[in-house]
């Protein structure tokens, strides 16, 4: 079986349609509309049930979670296979300790269960599988050839995003009085905290004597974090649909300073997205 499986070859049936990130980035439209004399911006707003479009926004987010779970399963599965067993301490970066593979196998089990839960939640919310487009940047982050960077990008950045998203959805279910959504998200959230903690623990263990590698891993995490802030979709601005779940991130091994940095990264991502939209608009107008 080949190693480092390319994203183009991931198995999907005809219901699934992929939309590259670049296509989203080329969109000249903006979700934040200037309105009123004070030039306030009306954005999608925090994802709470009082938003008129809340049920449909929750459906779309749930579908994003579902395809994310598939890719997380695929990524953790690849990490079980792609590396030889060894010390993984930097002497040969393609090696990982057997215990790391066990953690990834456990994560595969969790992600497979999350896929099943997500399918049932989608049915509960009236969403067909493949109803929304899929982008594959989660799996792409799971293709890094250095296992430490891979775990940092996937388990700390992406599973960290999952903590924020699941916490938002859990609160959504609670406020909406939807016991099915609240219960499922709470259980998946608990797993995600464990996955992030695995990433935090392995990062520390494998780079304890290799600070440059640790710094490369944290830099990779920052890149993935910015990409996954999705132009301010996740952040601490008043109208960010998904907020940073600081308490759960703390349980997963994040330092307060790291979370402050992440909030800054999310803000930067939002500003860059707004600048990109302006540039796209100017290009359309010219």
């Amino acid at each position: 079986m080949r190693k480092a499986f390319p994203v183009e070859d991931l198995a999907r049936d005809g219901r699934f349609v992929r939309v590259p990130l670049a296509e989203r980035f080329d969109d000249p439209r903006t979700a934040r509309v200037e309105q009123g004399a004070g030039k306030n911006k009306r954005g999608p707003g925090r994802l709470t049930p009082d938003r008129p479009d809340a049920p449909d926004a929750a459906r779309a987010l749930m579908h994003g979670i579902f395809v994310g779970e598939i890719q997380a399963l695929e990524g953790a599965g690849r990490t079980c296979w792609d590396f030889e067993v060894g010390s993984g301490n930097g002497e040969g970066i393609a090696e990982v300790p057997f215990e790391l593979k066990l953690d990834m196998a456990r994560q595969c089990w969790d992600e497979a269960r999350h896929c099943e839960i997500s399918i049932k939640l989608s049915a509960h919310m009236g969403t067909e599988l493949g109803e929304f487009s899929e982008n594959t940047f989660l799996y792409e982050a799971a293709c890094n050839p250095d296992p430490v960077l891979r775990l940092t990008g996937v388990n700390r950045a992406l599973e960290g995003l999952a903590i924020d998203v699941f916490n938002t959805m859990r609160e959504f279910g609670d406020i909406a009085g939807d016991p099915v959504l609240e219960f499922c998200e709470d259980w998946m959230l608990a797993d995600e905290v464990t996955h992030v903690k695995m990433g935090s623990d392995w990062l520390r263990k494998l780079t304890a004597n290799d600070k440059p590698r640790q710094e490369r891993a944290l830099e990779f995490q920052r890149v993935v974090d910015k990409l996954f802030s999705l132009g301010g979709f996740r952040g601490e601005e008043e109208d960010s649909p998904v907020r940073l779940a600081r308490r759960f991130r703390e349980l997963a091994g994040f330092e307060e300073a790291e979370m402050d940095t992440l909030a800054e990264i999310a803000k930067e991502a939002r500003e860059e997205m707004e600048a990109r939209v302006e540039a796209n608009r100017a290009a359309v107008a010219s």
Binding site: E23, R29, G126, S133, A176
Partner: protein, 184 residues
């Protein structure tokens, strides 16, 4: 039949005004609105958000953000089914408002989320019976979000979904019945 789509050409999305017009003309006839009724669809292509609402009933003016008519699997492209779903339900609500037997519902901006969703369920149920593709479970989820995840809410939904001749008083009463069953 005077159906107008504004703008007539698009620069930010890949919509075809003629395609939108054809969909709306077909719907106007299907839902039973007068053939000479002026209908204007104003599309705001500057935002991907998905709001759509009726801003005037005679002549009919519907303002829609481009996300409301967009294919969720193909950014910036029109979804014929999505357009039918969104415009169809709004045209059915226009027909209700123009029907003297329907009663006197509050103005759009004065409808509560619960009232708005209950009416929408009644409209989409009828749209499905006209032969269009509709998502029953999606509408049930919307209704439950506004009326509670209870057996009473599900029963109220079924009444709205299967009905063809409700008045505003009926819709309002069905909504209230579901809300009254919410646990305190």
């Amino acid at each position: 039949m005077p159906v107008e789509v504004r703008p007539d050409t698009f620069s930010m999305v890949f919509f075809d005004a003629a395609e939108v017009r054809a969909i709306v003309e077909k719907l106007v006839a299907e839902v039973g609105l007068p053939a000479d009724l002026s209908v204007t669809i104003e599309i705001d292509e500057t935002t991907p958000m998905g709001r759509a609402r009726v801003t005037s009933f005679d002549p009919v003016v519907i303002k829609a953000e481009s996300g409301a008519l967009e294919d969720v699997k193909a950014p910036r492209k029109l979804s014929a089914d999505g357009t039918t779903d969104v415009i169809g339900k709004l045209l059915l609500s226009v027909r209700d408002r123009r029907d003297p037997n329907f009663g006197d519902p509050p103005a759009e901006d004065d409808l509560t989320l619960q009232e708005s969703v209950a009416w929408e369920v009644y409209c989409v149920g009828r749209l499905g019976r006209l032969g269009h593709q509709v998502q029953r479970q999606r509408r049930l989820y919307q209704f439950r979000n506004r009326h509670g995840f209870t057996d009473a809410a599900d029963a109220a939904f079924d009444k709205l979904w299967t009905a063809d001749q409700l008045t505003w008083a009926d819709i309002s009463a069905i909504s209230q019945t579901a809300l009254a069953a919410l646990p305190v």
